[in-house]
């Protein structure tokens, strides 16, 4: 009963977050100065090198307004907009006309989601693993050395780390390509190998950038948790270090870290832009940057909404599985 209530609460929250995010996305550009249609028309005119007739301009203006959903008053626009979001229809891309925005996004999404979710989880696992060992054996020298890994990696800005990795692995050692080239065609063994090979460098930088923090946080949690009475009692029962480290210290210390994971998954699309631009990786980040550079409003809208949707969904999923880790939420007190 309590669990059902919890899940229902989370789901309502999820819908609310989506609604608020989508609404902000609608109003924010409308608060900015400038008019996308006029921008576009002046671009076209500049490119064409001659001015269009007044009727032609007006015609163009009307069809663009329809395309962008800019007809009618603000409320009509808003309801139309919500309807389109629900249908996942953002109109055609402007840069790749007449390719629909939704197609472009669906092509790019697996790249970004695959890379970033994988690396965030990997960074979490490796970081917390190292942090756990460093914290559990905090009186040993080797454990202190493990912590130094975290302390050294944590403050390096991502772009510097990425450039160093490129320099070392793509330029000096030339083990991995500088920018990825993916084989076309259907999924096959050689294609998956090439994907892994080509994605290795961006993945490596993301893991390196992500896990330092996890090491430090988990170490601090593990040091505190291992002094808790239930861990001390387990020691007096004669349990092995391994049992205590995994079943006692980790099972308890990971709870705040799971919360941190949920929060960091919310930020993965921020990382996407940096990573994908540095490594020319064909994901949502690149698409967003290209769209922003070319004034492709539909595509930009679509990618932002997709981002909101993805982040909210990941958070919901993690919220829903959280009771698996903490029975106190599952069954109440």
């Amino acid at each position: 009963m309590k669990l059902l209530q919890y899940m229902l609460q989370r789901f309502v929250m999820y819908l609310l977050i989506l609604f608020i995010g989508i609404t902000i996305t609608f109003f924010l550009p409308r608060l900015m100065p400038g008019d996308p249609i006029s921008n576009y028309i002046s671009q076209v005119q500049a490119r064409a090198g001659q001015s269009l007739s007044a009727e032609a301009t007006q015609q163009l203006r009307d069809s663009l307004a329809e395309l962008y959903g800019l007809q009618g008053d603000l409320f009509t626009q808003y309801t139309n907009y919500i309807g389109r979001v629900v249908r996942f229809d953002f109109g055609p891309s402007f840069t790749y006309y007449p390719e629909p925005v939704s197609n472009i996004l669906l092509d790019a999404l697996p790249w970004t989601a695959g890379l970033l979710i994988m690396t965030t989880l990997l960074a979490w696992l490796i970081g917390n693993g190292i942090g756990l060992i460093a914290g559990y054996y905090n009186k040993r020298r080797a454990a202190a050395a493990l912590e130094i890994v975290g302390i050294l990696l944590y403050p390096i800005p991502y772009y510097i780390l990425a450039l160093v990795v490129i320099l070392v692995f793509a330029y000096w050692l030339a083990l991995f390509p500088l920018s990825p080239t993916f084989l076309p065609g259907p999924m096959s063994w050689s294609k998956s190998v090439s994907i892994i090979h080509n994605s290795f460098l961006p993945a490596l930088t993301l893991v390196l950038a992500g896990f330092g923090w996890n090491v430090l946080a988990m170490k601090a949690l593990a040091v505190a948790t291992k002094e808790d009475p239930y861990v001390q009692f387990a020691r007096l029962k004669g349990t092995t270090d391994r049992t205590r480290m995994t079943q006692y210290v980790f099972r308890n210390a990971m709870l705040p870290q799971i919360t941190a994971l949920i929060l960091s998954l919310g930020f993965i699309f921020n990382g996407a832009i940096q990573t994908e631009v540095i490594f020319s990786y064909p994901g949502i980040g690149m698409t967003m940057r290209a769209a922003a550079g070319a004034g492709d409003y539909n595509l930009l809208y679509g990618s932002i909404i997709l981002t909101i949707f993805a982040v909210a969904t990941v958070t919901l999923v993690l919220d829903l599985i959280y009771p698996l880790f903490d029975p106190r939420i599952r069954l109440g007190g």
Binding site: D228, P229, Y230, V231, Q232, F233, A234, L236, K237, G238, T239, T240, T243, Q247, Y248, R251, N252, L255, F325, D326, P327, R328, L331, G333
Partner: protein
Amino acid sequence: MIRLDNIVASYTTQRGQVNAVDGVTLEIPDSIVMGIAGESGCGKSTLMKVLYGDIGFPLSLRSGSVEYGLTNERSEPVTTDNIRREWFRHISYIPQSSMSSLNPVVRICDQFVDFPATAGRKKEVLAQVRGFVQKLGLPPESIDAYPHQLSGGMRQRIMVAMATFFQPEIILADEPTTALDVVVQKSILLLLLELQREMGNTILLVSHDMGVHYQVTDKMLIMYAAKAVEYADTDDIFQNPLHPYTLMLTNSLPTIGDDRARRGLPGSPPSLWEPQKGCRFAARCPIAADRCRREEPPLVEYTRGHFSACHFAGDVAGLKETLQAGPKLSEVAHDPSRLMSDLEADR
């Protein structure tokens, strides 16, 4: 029989070594409940740690060892050196903080079988555990619960069940009922006693509560400033103490029919950092003489099984009357500020 031979246990601190247990020699007969009493910092818990073999930084055993009168699987005698391997097989431990001694995110049944003693036969053990907890007054399915779903009393019963399930010869209980209310406290103590009578194990019980000691224990050890000052049958401790500290400790207990105000013990124990000379209780002792300040009294057997470390053990009986001559409670006005003036006097 458990033999302690001149145990000196010390803590390493930034100020140097401090002996929290300083030369305790004892023999504890099998199948009894032995109580250990004394004020905070007297070395009770340290002695328990030494007995349990839980010796590790900052605690170290500087001299002596414990013989448990047991033999292990390889039929070697069990001593301080190898007692760790017998944890929860031959010696078990009931912790003070039962409320927080269970892992909050793991089912209780998994915590029953997560140590090497049950390796390879977890299912079988759990089936027996279900029957066992039922005997202890818990529903068998309570071990499928998480700790937060049980009440404090149930949790302490679980702790007792864990400590007794493998039928260890020795059970150490460090203030097992301190965190519980008196009703639950009584039921837990009765349960522990019942199991002890049935299994015939030795229970070593640390408690601040002299009432608990009086009701539960067969023998008692009184500690003061890292020393054993008196060791005797519980009846003797209460009726016929041979150390002034014991007398003053038991005298603080209210007696039905006697409504005279209880007198506290002024002063505080000596700092263990300072070098000790003579009897450690001398500064607070009403019958201390020059000899007490010069010469340390050894723990001597005065009558059969009754040990005391006092030069004037024979004079303690006479002290009883003078100590009890307080004003009647009914004649003393209720006045909380008296506590403050007592504190002032202590300084």
